[in-house]
């Protein structure tokens, strides 16, 4: 049995688990059974993917007599698929493990169980599909199932709105993809990926396809300005679903982009790449700024997903720029950075969403301003979330830094590009990415500092208890992965290289030979980084310092009330709130970039009502793009709606006028 058959079988089994859930819904172990099966299957995905990256089973295909009748349903397993299988397998597996524990708290499990495994299966189908129809079918089924999952808590108005916006954007994306595939397939309907691959296209045609792919895959991944659904839908879903959507599904969207733009379309003209780079960089900054301003824990995480997607798109754009100029080594570096970051983001974003889910479970709150002090009540969760926050803030020696480092190395290769425009633009985009990275650190200090540190701001947070072992195990797994990958990035780079090789026909130097797991993307004189040693050095010097201080100086400790510059121990609400923490950045960047407004209502002297500070900050994209569209549709449909209330005579007049019009037309014509 070839790899593709085996993977298909597992995907089919996952899809079939959905209906199974309906039949076994009365059994007490139904949820555990479903999630446990999902763990097993995802584990198999990961294994198959890893085996594929090691070279086993690559290139196997299968055609089933399904889908479009004259070409059937084509499936193919190659290195790119294998890599994303690993993402899906590890992410899906860890999240399913988490769900074993988390799912017990679900009030209406039947709104999750039938869709959850099928969602995983649909994502696998997207990865395997090798013709346009199968691809889009799986893609849209994936959207549909995640939509159903988002609607788990459908009683809430916000959830319904979120789900609506989500599926509408998904529909928009699918239509864009459909148009892109229409162009790729040509007039004769050559929908197979194999047939699309060899065709040469004019640069304009390729650019149109690229734009459509940016719209289609970008809307699913969360590229600005198509990201609006993401901060709505991800928080609304149950947390393991949020984790799956943010950590894994957005990666599947990126897979779609990579598959079409890098694999099917081939090298594009150099002038196509700046748009991608710039979009990516702008998305990154916008996303993280919004994350900085957001009060809702899960929504802030969702915004941070947008940031990371932006980073990845910037890396992909760099790859396109290098590739268009035939700089294979540089392209390989940028592409490796993109794939590496995809992997990393899967790990830490899933971890963070699980953490948010644990917090939600323990306190029932998503509002940062109700949390605080969780590090005392939920020590393990807090520690694991800290690892995730460090990783996502790109702090060495964790994994987030490794991929950002690679990306910056790629940015630094820009002088070799012949086009002056790109030469100037890439470092500028690099600056934006650096800004995003710095803001990410600020945003996660805020999230962690307000949410987990300090004193509890509500009773719910005060009485929080640590979550169950399954959840902790799942988070621990991913946290360990973050550390491990950060410390040993060379192994990951080598594992990715078959993918890079397959897409770009070039790769980074083999990292396995370098001493002490150092990574050297180009040459040692140019740049190198060793996560292991950094970690060892930091750990050693920290321990050394601690040991020395404790050994030779004092080790006495006394607990006392907080000093706070002499103020008495005030109420927990005097702590910095999430809004307060964001205030400096809101004033500095938010006013101009996001249109943030602060209004202060000061009561007159003698009036004892409290002073109020209201902050208005939101996604500028809503007001600039989506609200006008919605308003237009509303106005036009209201105007049109008069046609429903005409008299019969007027309807007849319409018929009559149409007839006259056509007759006149005919008369003029002949």
């Amino acid at each position: 049995m070839s790899a593709v058959d085996f993977t298909l079988l597992i995907a089919a089994a996952l899809l079939a688990l959905g209906p199974t859930a309906i039949f076994i819904r009365r059994l007490s172990w139904a949820a555990t059974f479903i999630y446990a099966s999902a763990i097993v299957m995802c584990g198999l995905f990961a294994l198959i993917g890893l085996a594929g990256l090691a070279g086993y089973g690559i290139g196997s295909s299968q055609v089933l007599p399904l889908g479009l009748p004259w070409i059937g349903a084509n499936f193919h397993f190659d290195a790119l698929t294998a890599f994303f299988m690993v993402i899906l397998g590890i992410g899906g597996g860890a999240i399913s493990l988490y769900a074993v524990g988390y799912g017990r708290h679900e009030h209406a499990p039947m709104r999750v169980l039938p869709f959850y495994p099928a969602f995983l299966g649909a994502m696998a189908m997207v990865l395997l599909a090798a013709d346009a129809f199968t691809f889009l079918l799986s893609w849209e089924v994936m959207s549909l199932l995640s939509w159903a999952l988002v609607l788990t808590h459908h009683q809430e108005e916000d959830t319904r709105k979120a789900a609506y916006v989500y599926l509408l954007m998904a529909g928009f994306g699918t239509m864009s993809l459909l148009l892109a595939f229409g162009l790729l397939a040509g007039p004769d309907g050559a929908y197979g990926f194999a047939a699309m691959r060899g065709v040469t296209r004019t640069p304009v045609m390729a650019a149109v396809i690229l734009v459509l792919m940016l719209l289609g895959a970008g809307s699913k991944a969360g590229l600005a300005p198509l990201h609006v659904w993401l901060p709505l839908a991800h928080p609304a879903a149950p947390s393991h679903v949020s984790a799956l959507m943010s950590g894994v599904m957005t990666k599947i969207a990126l897979y779609g982009f990579i598959r079409v733009v890098f694999d099917l379309l081939g090298p594009s003209a150099w002038w196509a790449s700046p748009a991608v780079i710039l979009l990516g960089a702008v998305t990154a900054v916008l996303g993280i700024l919004l994350a900085m301003m957001e009060r809702d824990l899960k929504r802030a995480l969702a915004y941070s997903t947008i940031e990371n997607i932006g980073v990845i798109f910037a890396a992909l754009g760099l790859t396109m720029a290098f590739r268009a100029n035939g700089m294979t080594a540089a392209a390989a570096l940028a592409f490796t950075a993109a794939l590496f970051h995809i992997f990393n983001h899967m790990a830490f974003k899933s971890l963070l969403f699980m953490g948010a889910g644990s917090v939600l479970n323990a306190t029932g709150l998503r509002d940062l301003d109700g949390l605080g002090g969780l590090i005392h009540r939920m020590p393990v969760t807090s520690f694991l979330v800290l690892v995730g926050a460090m990783a996502i803030s790109a702090l060495p020696p964790l994994n987030g830094f490794a991929s950002e480092w690679l990306l910056f190395q790629a940015v630094l290769l820009s002088p070799q590009i012949p086009q002056a425009g790109l030469q100037l633009m890439i470092p500028a985009a690099g600056g934006l990415l650096a800004l995003a990275a710095a803001l990410a650190a600020a945003a996660f200090v805020r999230i962690y500092g307000v949410g987990f540190l300090g004193r509890a701001r509500s009773d719910a947070a005060r009485c929080a208890v640590e979550v169950d072992r399954f959840s902790l195990a799942a988070m621990g797994l991913l946290a360990a992965l973050c550390v491990l990958v950060g410390v040993l990035p060379g192994i990951v780079i080598d594992a990715i290289s078959p993918v890079v090789e397959a897409i770009l026909a070039g790769r980074l130097p083999d990292q396995g030979q370098d001493a002490w797991f150092t990574i050297i993307p180009i040459a040692e004189a140019r740049s190198s980084y060793n996560g292991l040693l950094v970690m060892v050095f930091v750990a050693l010097s920290a321990s050394l310092a601690a040991w020395a201080v404790h050994r030779y100086a004092s080790r006495q400790l006394r607990r006392a009330p907080a000093w706070d510059c002499g103020f008495p121990n005030a109420d927990p609400i005097t702590q910095y709130s999430s809004g307060g923490f964001a205030q400096p950045l809101r004033r500095v960047l938010g006013v101009n970039l996001l249109g943030a407004r602060e209004t202060v209502v000061m009561p007159l002297p003698g009036d004892r009502s409290p002073a109020r500070l209201t902050v208005e900050v939101g996604d500028p994209v809503w007001g600039r793009i989506y609200a006008p569209i919605a308003a237009t549709v509303s106005t036009v449909s209201t105007k049109m709606n008069r046609l429903q209330f005409l008299t019969i005579r007027r309807y007849l007049s319409l018929v009559f006028l149409l007839l006259i019009f056509l007759l006149l037309g005919l008369m003029i014509w002949i």
Binding site: A132, Q155, E157, G182, V633, S634, M640
Partner: protein, 482 residues
């Protein structure tokens, strides 16, 4: 029974005889069973056409690859709708919306309508076809007005007037076609036989054909429900009994479409005649976008789905207007899928409206919680009709959009715009229907879900797997349509 050795005769005779029987038979229970039985027999007879070699085209009857699709679909949906009607109509009697005498009338008319539609599909004579469409129209007019409320009468009246004008225009077109054929084929009946017309179309006077097609497109187009000729459609769907809404959307529109297609083939066969494509594309697009926008302001659930029918007829006409093997295939597939899906939607809507006692969109909430099967069934139907996979409509929309974009990018973009607008509206309403806290009556539905599930299973199956013979046959038809 030598007379009925031919299944085609059976298809026509069974509804006619049972109409007569039902007209005199008291007692609604028996009537509804006979109704179902008659529809079943008709369907089986139609289905047997797959296996028996179809009879050679005669003066009156014609079975070819094109209309066999329509006949089988027609009788099948007619059958499922009759089973749905059996469970639906009992409830109407209980609530006193209908009296037994009206029920008798209803069942008889149901069969008359089936007869009209079957005749329109099987006849080989353009005049007879016109008559048959007229019969079907008039019988549905009576059914739409059967509740005799203000709204129902108004809807029926509107339907009647607009339908009559349309049918008159179609008659004029038919006469013109005859006139153009007459110099070639000679006077009298041969000049009205489809097979003759089709074979000799190349020699007809193209100018006359052009004029004829305008009248035919407007005439039968009124029946298809193309904007701006659609006005009767939403009200007729909304105010009639729900089985009739299902039949109207699922069948009658197809019958009219069939007529348009036949005449389009005639036009295509004549080299000098205008290309009917652009006209159909334009009307299709107008219907699609117009109906999509209208969806946003609907307050009545059945009217909502009636507008959705207009929208889909727009897509189908658009696809046939684009032409070519892929688009024609897509058009046919879309038509079949739309019939099945839309009637399934009306089945569930019928039950919902009966449970809730209202058709107001704002009063239907949280169905997945209170009535899981109905709620999710409706969800499946609406998502399917909105073009979501893994349902069959997705495949046809995939083909239409992807083939159009390469050839006519602007048209494809307009098409996509319309599809998205409609998707947005349907999804908005669906979210309201099936999610949130349930409102209104929560009593369980005792109705049978079999027709609903049967239709949705077929649509689901078609979305992922089309049987080989069916594909071959669709492709043959697509080639036939040019």
């Amino acid at each position: 029974m030598a007379l009925f050795s031919n299944p085609v005769q059976l298809i026509l005779a069974v509804p006619m005889i049972s109409a007569a029987v039902l007209a005199i038979l008291p007692g609604y229970k028996l009537s509804s069973r006979i109704n179902v039985l008659a529809c079943l027999v008709t369907f089986l007879a139609a289905f047997s056409l797959f296996f028996i070699a179809p009879p050679a085209p005669g003066t009156y009857l014609l079975i070819d690859e094109l209309n066999i699709v329509f006949i089988v679909l027609n009788t099948f949906v007619g059958f499922t709708a009759s089973t749905f009607s059996a469970s639906y109509i009992a409830h109407e009697l209980e609530t006193g919306r209908l009296t037994p005498i009206y029920l008798r009338f209803y069942h008889a008319m149901y069969q008359v309508m089936m007869f009209g539609m079957n005749l329109a599909l099987t006849t080989n004579n353009i005049g007879l076809m016109w008559v048959a469409v007229e019969i079907a129209t008039l019988s549905t007019v009576l059914m739409v007005g059967i509740y005799r409320t203000h709204e129902a009468l108004e809807a029926a009246w509107k339907y009647f007037i607009l339908g009559s004008v349309g049918i008159a225009l179609a008659l004029f077109g038919t006469i013109l076609v005859y006139l153009s054929a007459q110099p070639v084929l000679g006077e009298g009946p041969p000049a009205m036989i489809w097979t003759n017309l089709q074979a000799n179309a190349a020699r007809f006077d193209p100018a006359l054909l052009n004029l004829a097609f305008i009248f035919l497109l407007l005439g039968y187009g009124t029946k298809v429900g193309l904007a701006p000729l659609h006005a009767w459609l939403p009200d007729a769907h909304a105010e009639g009994p729900t089985p009739i809404s299902a039949v109207l959307s699922g069948l009658l529109l197809n019958v009219a479409l069939y007529a348009v297609l036949r005449f389009k083939m005639l036009m295509s066969a004549n080299p000098g005649a205008l290309d009917p494509g652009p006209m159909m594309i334009a009307m299709g697009l107008v219907s699609l976008i117009f109906a999509a926008l209208m969806l946003y302001r609907r307050r009545d659930i059945k009217r909502l789905f009636a507008y959705s029918s207009i929208e889909h007829m727009g897509i189908i006409v658009f696809a046939f207007g684009i032409g070519g093997p892929l688009a024609n295939f897509a058009g046919l597939l879309h038509m079949v899928m739309h019939s099945l899906t839309k009637s399934a939607i009306f089945f569930s809507v019928g039950h919902i409206a009966q449970i809730k006692g209202t058709q107001k969109i704002s009063e239907i909430r949280g169905l997945t919680q209170s009535h899981p099967v109905l709620g999710w069934g409706l969800a499946a139907g609406v998502l399917a009709i909105a073009g979501m996979p893994p349902f069959g409509v997705f495949m046809s929309e995939f083909l239409v959009v992807s083939t159009t974009f390469d050839r006519q990018p602007i048209l494809a973009l307009l098409l996509v715009l319309g599809l998205l607008l409609a998707f947005g509206a349907l999804l908005l309403r669906l979210t309201g229907f099936i999610f949130g806290e349930p409102t209104g009556s929560l009593k369980p539905s005792e109705a049978s879900y079999v027709p609903l599930i049967a239709h949705m299973s077929l649509v689901l199956m078609a979305g992922v797997y089309l049987p080989g013979p069916m594909v071959a046959w669709f492709q043959a038809v697509a080639r036939l349509l040019g």
